[in-house]
């Protein structure tokens, strides 16, 4: 029964959000049935569509995990976007500027660059929180903008592809590109593996338990001798590292370079996915596949029904609203969830 409940709430939220989305399309004079049909057939109706969906889902899984892990530790990491961009930027640089290495060294090195700079971006917010008590929501949002501007500067200036009009870095060398297997992006499997590992860490290990205790009750954790500061630093570091990895995988496996227009919303979708999955690492996987499909097939919806892909932003916002606000639980008593998601709160 508990198992059913944990699935029912997100499912109802999704249905209601799609219904509201349909209403919005109607208001704009489009046919919602045509739109949704094209959305789902192009996302899940063919093997090429599924491969594309899984490709889109990959960075979402990883950024969803980055948010989930921090949520478990009582931190609301809205800075996945910036951490992801930092990772993308660093891995793109490592991918084109370091030459003459075989794939077996170059690819992991480029990924590591992404992980490191993502973690660096995350740990800035973590350190400000741990040592100065600055709320992570503000610092991470500010860092998002800072990294975005920094990336723009580098792509227009020092990292710019020579002889190119557009602001973008040169293409990543072949030795740093992520190979595909049977048309399936290899990064997807890595994402799934990471989700399972995260689940296992929280389920069975002491460090996972420590982080979670800090997330649930800081003073209790402190009394039990758990270092709250350490837990904050570790979770922001790991969250940032994961987000950086997501950016690196997207860069080395899909985009092939860094451009300022690089995938705007992945980090924010990660927040929605994490909350939709009630901060459960395994629940990130289906959520990401669904969102990845919608993101990948948004263009076909515009083509078939003339609906702007922006509707997906709206649908996702409504999903987030319904899943976090105890609205559905209020109406349907049997699925009232006792465990609300909480963040660390304001101040300290």
């Amino acid at each position: 029964m508990k198992y059913l409940r944990s699935w029912l709430l997100p499912a109802i939220a999704l249905l209601v959000a799609f219904a509201v989305g349909a209403l919005m399309m109607k208001i704009q004079g489009a046919n919602p049935f045509v739109a949704y049909k094209s959305l789902f057939t192009s996302a899940f109706g063919s093997s090429a569509g599924i491969a594309k969906t899984l490709g889109k889902a990959t960075p979402l899984i990883i950024s969803g995990l980055a948010v989930t892990i921090c949520l478990r530790a009582g931190l609301f990491n809205i800075g996945v976007q910036g951490q992801l961009l930092a990772g993308a930027l660093a891995s793109a640089w490592a991918g084109y500027a370091i030459k003459g290495l075989p794939t077996i060294i170059h690819l992991p090195l480029a990924l590591l660059f992404g992980v490191f700079f993502g973690a660096l971006t995350g740990i800035i917010a973590g350190a400000l929180k741990a040592f100065r008590g600055v709320h992570e929501v503000i610092t991470t949002i500010m860092l998002n903008s800072i990294v975005l501007q920094l990336g723009e500067y580098l792509a227009y200036g020092p990292f710019k592809e020579p002889g190119q009009q557009l602001a973008r870095t040169p293409e990543v060398l072949n030795s740093a590109k992520i190979p595909q297997i049977f048309g399936m992006p290899l990064g997807f499997f890595l994402g799934v593996a990471l989700a399972v590992i995260a689940w296992w860490v929280f389920k069975t290990t002491t460090s996972g338990f420590r982080m979670e205790t800090v997330g649930r009750n800081k003073s209790a954790a402190w009394y039990a001798g758990i270092s709250v500061k350490r837990s904050i630093l570790i979770s922001m570091f790991v969250g940032g590292a994961l987000a950086g990895l997501g950016g690196a995988i997207e860069t080395l496996g899909v985009v092939g370079r860094y451009e300022p227009a690089f995938n705007g919303g992945i980090g924010f979708d990660g927040i929605t996915i994490a909350l939709l999955g009630r901060a459960n690492p395994l629940a990130v996987i289906p959520g990401s596949i669904l969102f990845g499909g919608m993101r990948g097939a948004g263009a076909s919806m515009q083509f078939a029904a003339g609906v702007s892909p922006d509707i997906i932003d709206l649908i996702l916002a409504i999903v987030l609203f319904l899943v976090t606000a105890p609205l559905i639980g209020k109406m349907i008593k049997s699925i009232r969830d006792t465990e609300q998601i909480t963040t660390g709160g304001w101040g300290n």
Partner: protein, 324 residues
């Protein structure tokens, strides 16, 4: 306290330096500082009003975004700026009511509630956004007769649009209301110790609803100021992080309207001076770095002031009435 004096000293020295070099430039820089700082100060008032009654409002950004959107497109469709202003203020109040519903009635985690408002605002505005709309004009500058001819202070303080005056006056009104009226005392009591306030006969829930809604309306005014007086257009992501900067200024100003106004003017001066330096090419920094400046300053301000200031005690906690 030291950091505040430092801030005022830096502002003062900057102003003096520029005034001695070129008085015309100084007046324009300080005028710009007010235009940059005022929307932030107004947005910080949203935070102050909410937090003083114990509600954390991290959705100011969303309030600014959605109210400026509604204000701009109402003004654009009707050709009437006043109508745009009214609708922006109303939209702001609605976003405040939504926050109250989530945070007061449903007792949700307030950080998540604010984030929902931000994400909903982004989703709604980008879906309904249509390119190519314009408004006939922005609110015109109103020079206050007599006062505007005072040297230096005239052009700096008394040659602005109507919403600037409204904003500045309301900030002082809020300060008086917060510290000198029964409403202010009750609000602060609810933010510090709600159960005592409740015992004294103050309705915690009602007051929180009222204040958060008024705060939202204030945010709507800030949104209207940004689009209808300052910029005259609207684009996706129009609020550009101002709602978060405002929260930092609120903390730096110690949840005091005048303190936050001072912080915002300091912030605006920093930006205006940088702009001026860029224009005159005294220094050449890539544009991306000047764009970064407000965000970096926000983090620095927080890193300096957080931990040393004390937030309202009951902030972020839903009020549970004790069962007899």
């Amino acid at each position: 306290m030291r950091s505040r004096w430092l801030m005022f000293a830096i502002t003062f020295i900057a102003i003096l330096y520029f005034y001695m070099r070129d008085s015309l430039v100084t007046t324009s820089v300080i005028g710009t500082a007010i235009t940059f700082g005022l929307p932030l100060a107004m947005a910080a008032m949203v935070g102050i009003m909410c937090e003083r009654t114990g509600i954390v409002n991290i959705g100011i950004e969303g309030t600014l975004l959605v109210s400026s959107f509604v204000g701009f497109f109402t003004a654009s469709a009707s050709g009437n700026l006043i109508l745009g202003l009214i609708s922006a203020v109303a939209m702001g109040a609605i976003s405040g009511l939504l926050l109250s519903l989530l945070a007061v009635t449903w007792k949700m985690d307030q950080i998540i509630a604010g984030t929902i408002i931000n994400i909903l605002a982004t989703g709604l505005t980008s879906f309904f956004y249509k390119q190519g709309h314009t408004i006939p004009s922005t609110f015109p500058e109103v020079d206050i007769p007599g006062l505007s001819s005072i040297p230096f202070f005239g052009p700096v303080l008394f040659m602005h649009g109507p919403l600037t005056y409204a904003g500045i006056i309301l900030i002082f009104v809020l300060w008086v209301a917060l510290y000198k009226t029964p409403w202010g005392l009750r609000s602060r009591a609810v933010g510090e110790h709600p159960s005592s306030a409740d015992t004294a006969g103050v309705s915690v829930i009602k007051l929180r609803y009222l204040n958060v809604a008024i705060a939202g309306a204030f945010g709507g005014l800030a949104g209207a100021y940004l689009t209808l007086e300052l910029v005259g257009s609207w684009d996706r992501g129009f609020s550009a992080g101002k709602g978060f900067t405002a929260l930092a200024l609120m903390i730096f100003g110690r949840w005091n309207p005048i303190g936050a106004l001072g912080a915002a003017i300091f912030f605006g001066t920093a930006q205006a001076v940088t702009n001026q330096l860029m224009i005159t090419q005294v220094v050449t920094i890539p544009q991306q770095f000047t764009n970064m400046l407000p965000y970096v300053l926000t983090i620095l301000i927080l890193a300096i002031s957080a931990g040393k200031v004390r937030a309202p005690a009951a902030e972020g906690q839903p009020y549970e009435k004790e069962q007899a």
